[in-house]
Subunit: 297 residues, 2 copies
């Protein structure tokens, strides 16, 4: 059952700003909704920067690289750099770097993953090159697979097909020690704001079904991105605040990682749902929207 | 740990033939391997028929209908009828008939499923009609889905694509009470005998990943086909013998269903593996190949 909760007041907001050196923001529902910026976000980000806070923006979307994502931030008038963005495409590449991976990768996904691997000089195949390939049956048909592949990354892919399924499956099943890495396992994704779309949980579920193996997940709710940020920038976790709109991903991710947590009601979670006796995921603070922090300056 | 076991002798084979009214055969590894008939199978089948035994051939393959499968049996010189064949495409249609389904079906899969639905007069869409469809992104893109669909059948599909994933997902998530039926969840399938191919476990895993729902499985190891045969032909289960080459599917399926079980070593299971202390699935009998029954006539 939830504890008694009430919206963050100015004194609490001041306390939060005071103890927090680094903010990690989920994007959809916090910074923007689909293609529309949420009111007051640019001013709040500018204020936090002027206070010397470190800001990171994390997204489970793997279709774009950090450079690709930066274009969206810039087009919305947000003044940040690619280093502040942690997409799950980057997380997959950073994971391989963290384990000193020196093999070749087979990629299921869109362009973001390959772009991030290129930046680290990691060899890869698949992705757009296997778009539209068909498996045409003939007696004794045999699909060759790349024996040099020692990791398969599976990200959201609108051009997912049986050729890719079989390639990924053969690499994982038959190449000794081949890693199976999922950028994320979200059931739904906001491909467009008009409806919910089947997410990378479907591509990953597919490869789980054929390989009977569990993937290494690098996006939320896995702690990889958080650990990476904390270690790379030497930030104590109790000085980090996770800001998100989803209880079961963002807030849980923050709490599991030992961060302080701020839920904003500008996304999918209503105040009724938050305060419902059925909810047992309780953020440290909650407020209507990010720009409420402006009052606490 | 396995019990002490030894190969079936002639006296045991006679006893098995005596008490068994109905044989259910797995096909691959028992009747044929890929496109090659296993030695002595036609003679054994003729003998069993002449003894008045009822014979059923079950396969988790859903790509063909029973009529489509019959062509393979006939081309290999096996003298049976479509009614003796239980493919998982038929099982999916028979399941809907058994629950007096009167809605419309969205089909992921190849031609067999639609052909079996047609024979029962059940309306359906999808399948080959959605082959090659692409989801091209544009702002506010929205995919309409068929609100009349109240069951989605997922079978093996070489033309699996994101359009089908999203259609199936929308029907299951958004149409109230919509059923999610899997013809089977096999990780691998023998598309050709040259290698193992990713099976319908991949297509089903995909839709599980996006809908977060578990399917109703109608193929092995679910008991649906067995219950259907026992009920439709009024056969006591202890008079049925399941013959298969796989411990964890065929033999387990038979044992769970209360049948007697005969493992043949003409498929994937070696005698060493059967007798290994690590194996705890013990068939009532085992023998080299089906034609060993000829000696017991």
């Amino acid at each position: 059952m939830a504890h008694k909760q009430r919206k963050m007041d100015i004194a609490e907001a001041k306390k939060l700003l005071d103890k927090t050196k680094t903010f990690i923001f989920d994007c959809d529902g916090v910074i923007w909704k689909g293609d529309s910026l949420i009111d007051g976000v640019p001013e709040t980000i500018d204020m936090l920067k002027s206070m010397g806070k470190q800001l990171f923006f994390i997204t489970n979307n793997s279709t774009k690289s950090r450079a690709g994502y930066l274009k969206k931030f810039t087009s919305l008038g947000l003044n940040i750099t690619a280093e502040n963005i942690f997409s799950s495409s980057f997380a997959a590449a950073a994971y391989l770097e963290s384990i000193k991976f020196d093999g070749k990768v087979y990629v299921v996904g869109e362009t973001g993953i390959g772009e991030e691997l290129d930046l680290l000089g990691i060899k890869w195949s698949g992705c757009e090159a296997d778009k539209g390939k068909e498996v045409t049956l003939s007696e004794g048909l045999y699909m060759d697979h790349d024996k040099d592949v020692s990791a398969v990354i599976v990200g959201f892919d609108r051009h997912f097909n049986y050729h890719k399924i079989q390639q990924a499956t053969l690499c994982i099943r038959e190449n000794p020690g081949c890693l199976f890495i999922a950028t994320n396992t979200d059931a739904v994704t906001h491909l467009t704001s008009a409806q919910e779309w089947a997410g990378n949980g479907s591509m990953v579920g597919c490869i789980k079904g054929s390989t009977q193996q569990e993937p290494i997940v690098v996006g939320k709710p896995s702690s990889f991105m958080l650990d990476y940020i904390a270690e790379k920038y030497s930030i104590p976790k109790d000085e980090i605040c996770m800001v998100g709109d989803r209880l079961d991903t963002d807030i849980l991710f923050g709490k599991d990682g030992g961060l302080s947590t701020l839920l904003v009601l500008s996304g999918v979670t209503t105040e009724d749902r938050l305060l419902s006796p059925k909810n047992d995921i309780v953020p440290d603070f909650y407020t209507n929207q990010l720009s409420d922090l402006l009052e606490a300056k």
